[in-house]
């Protein structure tokens, strides 16, 4: 199977507070990324600066063009975007 879109990997050891950082979520033209609270607890507002409290995912990957804007803005180098031809090789 030949991937149509780049393969996006998120290193969660490095990307720990995506809801606080927001950069990739904001910069992506087709809004490929999504962020959500790892757990929603009754009576508690999640602390967006607590590592691991929010998780980032490349949900709408079929819209990824491989423009690399997210990789450029990521302050912790957590994102890799591998082009389809690289993945196949």
């Amino acid at each position: 199977m030949i991937p149509v879109n780049p393969v996006i990997t998120i290193d969660r050891e490095r990307c720990t507070t995506p809801f606080d950082c927001k950069r990739c979520l904001r910069v992506c033209p087709p809004a490929v990324f999504a962020v959500h609270a790892a757990k929603i607890v009754r009576g508690v507002e999640t602390d967006r600066t607590e590592p691991g409290a929010y998780l980032l995912a490349a949900v709408y990957r079929d819209k990824c063009t491989g423009c690399m804007k997210c990789v450029e803005v990521c302050p912790v180098g957590a994102l890799t975007v591998a082009m389809p031809q690289e993945v196949r090789a």
Binding site: P3, A34, T46, C64
Partner: protein
């Protein structure tokens, strides 16, 4: 169940409308109040999108991105078959929203948009930023789930809610009623592509039951239209474009969701709403 449903009604009107448009039926704003949980059963907590990652749609999208169209189409088909048996959201024009908050959808509380929180990490902290409306007495329970209602909520009078809707309409947001639990209209969303999850699920992935088209379509009155172009750029559904040949905008009726954003941008009243059922080939297009 009231009057016999008409053939050309959308499925929500057929099931929940009692012979009329479902979101104009007061019953659909009250059902939740009388619903009792089974003894010993806990409330389903909000998961804030976590369930979306494990969802069929996410698997479908990853398959599509990996070049496996067969798996993608199979999953989409399965989701649609399941969705067809239950209600979803529906697009509605500004005037219907205003009637709704004035007459039946009370209490109304402004709150943050869950979709844009997820797709753009948008944080709406006060009435100056809130863009979504929660409806019904359930909104009084928001403090139990402060993460779901992050940034708090603010209850509005019907007049304030109407102003709120007009503001977001001006900003170019599509209005949608969202149902919860199958028969309770709990939200009046204002959102746009690509940040709105239901719009995106319908436009990009063909999950047509997640967001049903509006009761009407928009039509240009070419006697009145002077081709100023104010309406261009308002359409979130790829239905409205500028047509060079006639030097005026063109609306594709098959693509139109009847959100009326183009109409509210027009200074010459050159766009009007026409009931979908007026046209033979549109009356079953939802």
């Amino acid at each position: 169940m009231g009057r016999e449903a008409l053939d050309d009604m959308c499925r929500m009107c057929e099931w929940l409308g009692d012979g009329d448009i479902w979101y104009k039926n007061p019953r659909n704003y009250a059902n939740r109040m009388y619903k009792l949980r089974e003894p010993g059963k806990k409330a389903t907590p909000f998961t804030g999108g976590a369930e979306g990652l494990a969802s069929g749609l996410n698997r479908a999208i990853q398959a599509k991105a990996d070049g496996d169209l067969e798996t993608y189409q199979q999953i989409i088909k399965e989701i649609n078959e399941r969705d067809a048996t239950r209600p979803g959201g529906q697009v509605l024009p500004l005037q219907d929203c205003i009637d709704l908050v004035r007459d039946i959808g009370t209490p109304v509380a402004a709150m943050h948009c869950i979709c844009r929180k997820t797709t753009r990490a948008e944080e709406e902290q006060s009435i100056n930023e809130y863009s979504c409306l929660g409806l019904g007495t359930g909104m009084f329970k928001w403090e139990r789930w402060p993460e779901r209602y992050r940034g708090g909520v603010q209850f509005l009078t019907p007049e304030q809610a109407a102003e709120f809707l007009e503001y977001w309409d001006q900003r170019g947001m599509v209005h949608m009623v969202m149902q919860e639990g199958g028969d309770f209209i709990g939200g009046l969303c204002n959102c746009d592509y690509p940040d709105c999850v239901p719009i995106r699920q319908r436009v990009d992935y063909g999950l047509n039951y997640r967001l049903t088209k509006g009761e009407n379509i928009c039509e240009v009155d070419y006697e009145r239209c002077n081709g100023c172009g104010e309406c261009l750029g308002r359409c979130q559904f790829n239905a409205l474009k500028y047509e060079a040949t006639i030097d005026k905008p063109n609306i594709d009726p098959m693509m139109c969701f009847g959100c009326a954003l183009c109409m509210t941008a027009c200074n010459r009243q050159a766009i009007r709403l026409v009931p979908r059922r007026q046209y033979a080939a549109l009356q079953y297009v939802w």
